[in-house]
Symmetry: C3
Subunit: 143 residues, 3 copies
């Protein structure tokens, strides 16, 4: 049984849905030691989110950005939290809809993602800056 | 301390919200060995989801299907990911809104669900086919 | 390696988004023994949810309530699950959108939340009553 935890900083990205699977996997090669377990990814922010979805066609991620901009539009007349800019309150709403963490099974040293599943960083601010992710691995590990 | 992991294949279901609590529990009788722990359920697809909600009245699940079909409608004029059919991009949107995994506490060998909580398979494609779920149990287990 | 689990009852709150970070942390001082690990929070209800978001400005939580009341409005003409009152079916919808559980990393005996992250109880019923949360801690603990 083993526990492993590391903070991973994702560089600043533009507003939108970004595929970060390779970057996350490369940041925690220790996952390769786990025969079975779980990988937990946690974003320490309230205006960005993590999600799992289609990893191949970039039009899916473009449509997600277009959809969520309509689902949680800027400048809704009833918003009272407006001091931090028009993209701020929609960013908080998108973040609670999408969620702050992912838990992915580990099997034979690899994340057991489906063929089409990739890890998304969902950046909801126009200029969110770098984002901190805490990756926690637990499971049965080789010595 | 113990880890246990098994893939469970759920048979093809029609588009909609389906109660699969009994099927999941029956597929991992090993949970009965855990005095305390967590059960993690992970769906390896990008157009279906897992959720927890009301386990008694089927009208709740019918209303969920009606609601999500309005929340993420087919043929939105701004969609660019349209090659896989009109139900495809809405399925991806519903999947990120609902989520790919559930983590449920185990207590005294049973999932500690509330009285009214059941496990939903949320099938968002018209013909999604069988769905692969990886169930991972961890906790303190009897020998 | 250690596991710890406790039920925490949150007192009745009005409909809306409520910050409960301090109450949850105070209820599980055992987290202080974990050098690394995960805290899992699970709400055993189908008309309330847990979420992480902004912990400082109460206008964020007020805007969330206003937004979700519009996103899942009462008395939608197509609802068939209406026997339990107009706030019931919207509460189920908000609950699946927001989710029933949170998993938060533990580092050096503390929840590794970001500076601005707080734990929300999302109460979607007009009179939901007390809410049961099961907190499960796992990780490497001091003796």
């Amino acid at each position: 049984m083993a526990w492993f935890q590391r903070e991973v900083i994702l560089a600043r990205r533009s507003r939108g849905f970004h595929l970060v699977t390779r970057e996350i996997i490369a940041a925690v090669p220790e996952a390769g030691r786990f025969s079975v377990g779980l990988a937990h990814l946690f974003i320490r922010h309230t205006s960005a989110a993590l999600a799992l979805n289609e990893n191949a066609d970039p039009t899916v991620r473009a449509d997600m950005e277009a959809y969520f901009n309509r689902l949680a539009p800027e400048r809704a007349p009833y918003f009272t939290h407006t001091l931090e800019g028009p993209d701020d309150m929609p960013a908080h709403l998108k973040a609670v809809l999408l969620g702050s963490s992912l838990t992915i099974p580990i099997r034979d040293g690899r994340l057991a993602l489906g063929t089409w599943q990739g890890i998304y960083l969902c950046e909801h601010r126009d200029d969110g800056g770098p984002r901190s992710i805490i990756v926690t691995l637990s499971g049965e590990a080789d010595d």
